[in-house]
Symmetry: C2
Subunit: 423 residues, 2 copies
């Protein structure tokens, strides 16, 4: 393998994607086999026990392999002065494709998960409307819906990296507050049409039924664009952690504004100035002024493998893979660098490229056993290019911990250890 | 409501989709509310207990609402002379959108679910190849993959309806052998390129590691087109029930050929004539001759609500919704009839229309309290139109129980009871 000549596409070992096809064969090359269809070469494979004895049959509700149970969300320790508050992060380094299974979708709660009986839950639309309305869950189920695949990302995702410090984390611990699902719901514009929005209305104040009464103000223009009153997630009712029975879903915007356990939408002239759009979820600049209502998430990508706390066992060919997304459109391009940004090569985009959804990319890398810094850089359909960490800090300082889309640098040392580095 | 004038789009109550927006408001019209943002009208809503007390916080692996636990697959009773054999059916009448959650994806097993240790599992490629190959699971994970959303349907789905009889079933019991997921895997063409297919090869014999050694022959042309060696399903490793750690996935073709627990791919001149392509999964015509290798699934749709064994409580507006799919392309159009096929109206397609994937449709229906027969009819991107049951029977008789794409008729009687009918 070390003698092999690869077509280079960028510095420090990034090679043409057709070489990725040689990863296994290179380490393998042995002949086969003695299996069901008869021996035709040297290697004899033993028949494993699971091929000899029938297994259990079909069931009502399935579960994953016991060999996959290490794939867990990473939840913070409970905080007694903030009951039910906190988050859990998706195991991005273990997932592939673009959909996040519902059981592994990231969470963020401000007073834990309410145990709502849908038969007793109401959604109120009031304020500056011609006709205030109250909907039961059963009534909402009768409306026409749309189904769209979208990512959801907490605005605090990746925030720790702006402050610097010795962040020895994983893809999950540093960036796991992003997930992706098919969301099915009623266009909010449909329900607002029915209530009759008055001319002076400019905002929609959305409130959840959790004990935090989590509230956020949504500009009317967004509410009338692509916002959903979501009832289903990947085909099944929205999970309790995600807002059962009803959540607001604002595609491409910071996760917090997709209010869970939705119980009220009030049309107003001005934003409501809820606790979670004043004391939190505002972006404080170096002069201590704060931006408020910075809704769209950035143009972003992340290498999920190799990533923090992984180890490369030997020099040679690796698949570099990851996810990319944009709050402003679809992913048009992902580039990868193995030399800390001095040279870049285009990755293969392995998935469809839906609007405001995760995309999956990969590129082969021939690690020569030396130091390397792996980075990825996304470009979206609006031409937005993912910025470097230096550019984000120069623009917005290091006090702010929201809306950090910056390029992640994974250092690889000569021992093959992968870790977060700042360059 | 009975006095309301709707724009009719077809006979017996099918109306313009804009009236679907009036479903709830019509039965409602009351003012609101006394909630977090203050009273501004007559109705006082009580604050529920779940809004007063913090709930449990984030966790490592989530689960669905206890209020959704009635959504179960329908599994047949175990058969002692066929250990592990049988199937379970997706609860189509409870799902929305297009993705099936992995825990509710239909199953079909021929000797139960093998408990495979991925570290000991091998995939062999041999037969008419330049270089036989053996892959471990870890090696396969390094290959570039593609992620695509596709339906999977058992060729026996809906088969009971061809035989007639008094089939008083649900959408699930009659048609639940179809599901849809994002499948991520290695293009089979990649692995075959690496092995080097010899000129005389025409078929790929695929064998599973279950105790049935389930095998099927795949034409080489399909293998080189869009077949995947699938490793992930909706982002997580393929479930044991679906072939963990590896399954073949042949988009648009009968489910049985997407061999689970894949352990061998042998290149051959002729089909292998496995048990499951001779004694089963062949289509027997009235003259007792059988078609073999009838792979693509048809152009098909199904109304999932209202559907068999549901009940309409009162006359008035309902949402008719369902799913549509084609093994030969994407869904271009879905029409609905409420008068047993005498008149048809176009339904709204609520989802994206991906190739060989489920699509979701809906249309509003004003039930006048009389007898009705609800039907849906799909047209795909190739111009294929879903046939009537009479047309399928005239073409292929009633011995065959595979590949029935026929239009489902749901009768509604004056008591509002919905049931399967033959017309």
């Amino acid at each position: 393998m070390p003698n092999k000549v690869f077509d280079k596409v960028a510095g420090n070992g990034l090679i043409s994607r057709r070489h990725l096809l040689e990863i296994s064969a290179a380490g393998l090359g042995m002949a086969a086999s003695n299996s069901v269809l008869g021996a035709d070469s040297a290697l004899k494979l033993e028949i494993p026990v699971w091929s000899k004895v029938p297994g259990p049959g079909a069931s009502g509700y399935g579960s994953r392999s016991t060999h996959a149970e290490h794939m867990q969300r990473l939840a913070g320790a409970p905080n007694p002065i903030y009951p039910g508050g906190g988050s859990s992060r998706s195991p991005l380094q273990h997932l592939q494709g673009t959909i996040t299974p519902n059981s592994l979708h990231f969470e963020r709660h401000h007073a834990g998960i309410p145990d709502i009986n849908p038969a007793e839950h109401k959604l109120v639309i009031n304020g500056l409307v011609r006709q205030p309305l109250v909907f039961s869950y059963e009534e909402l189920l009768k409306y026409p819906m749309v189904s769209k695949i979208h990512f959801l990302e907490c605005s605090g995702n990746s925030g720790a990296l702006l402050r610097g410090g010795n962040e020895d984390g994983t893809a999950q611990s540093l960036h796991g507050l992003v997930s992706c699902a098919e969301w099915t719901g009623i266009p909010l514009s449909t329900l607002l049409d029915e209530a009759g929005v008055l001319r002076e209305a400019r905002w929609v104040a959305a409130v959840g039924a959790d004990a935090a009464s989590m509230g956020r103000s949504v500009p009317l223009s967004k509410a009338l664009d692509d916002v959903l009153v979501a009832l289903y997630q990947n085909g099944e009712p929205v999970r309790p952690e995600q807002g059962y029975p009803i959540r607001l879903f604002c595609p491409g915007w910071e996760g917090n504004i997709s209010v869970k356990w939705l119980t009220q939408l009030k049309l107003t002239r001005e934003p409501a100035q809820f606790r979670d759009e004043t004391s939190k979820y505002t972006d404080t600049m170096p002069d201590r002024s704060s931006y408020q209502f910075t809704f769209p998430m950035g143009t972003k990508s992340l290498i999920t493998s190799p990533s923090g706390q992984m180890a490369l066992n030997s020099q040679g060919l690796y698949k570099v893979t990851g996810i990319a997304w944009s709050g402003s459109g679809s992913i048009r391009r992902v580039e990868v660098s193995a030399d800390g940004g001095r040279s870049w090569a285009d990755a293969l985009i392995e998935s469809d490229q839906f609007e405001k959804a995760l995309a999956r990319f990969s590129i082969p890398w021939d690690w020569n056993g030396g130091d390397a810094v792996l980075q990825s850089r996304a470009t979206d359909s609006q031409g937005n290019v993912q910025p470097t960490r230096d550019a984000v800090i120069a623009d917005r300082g290091t006090i702010n911990r929201y809306h950090n889309p910056c390029i992640q640098s994974w250092g690889v040392n000569r021992a093959g250890e992968v870790s977060n580095v700042y360059i």
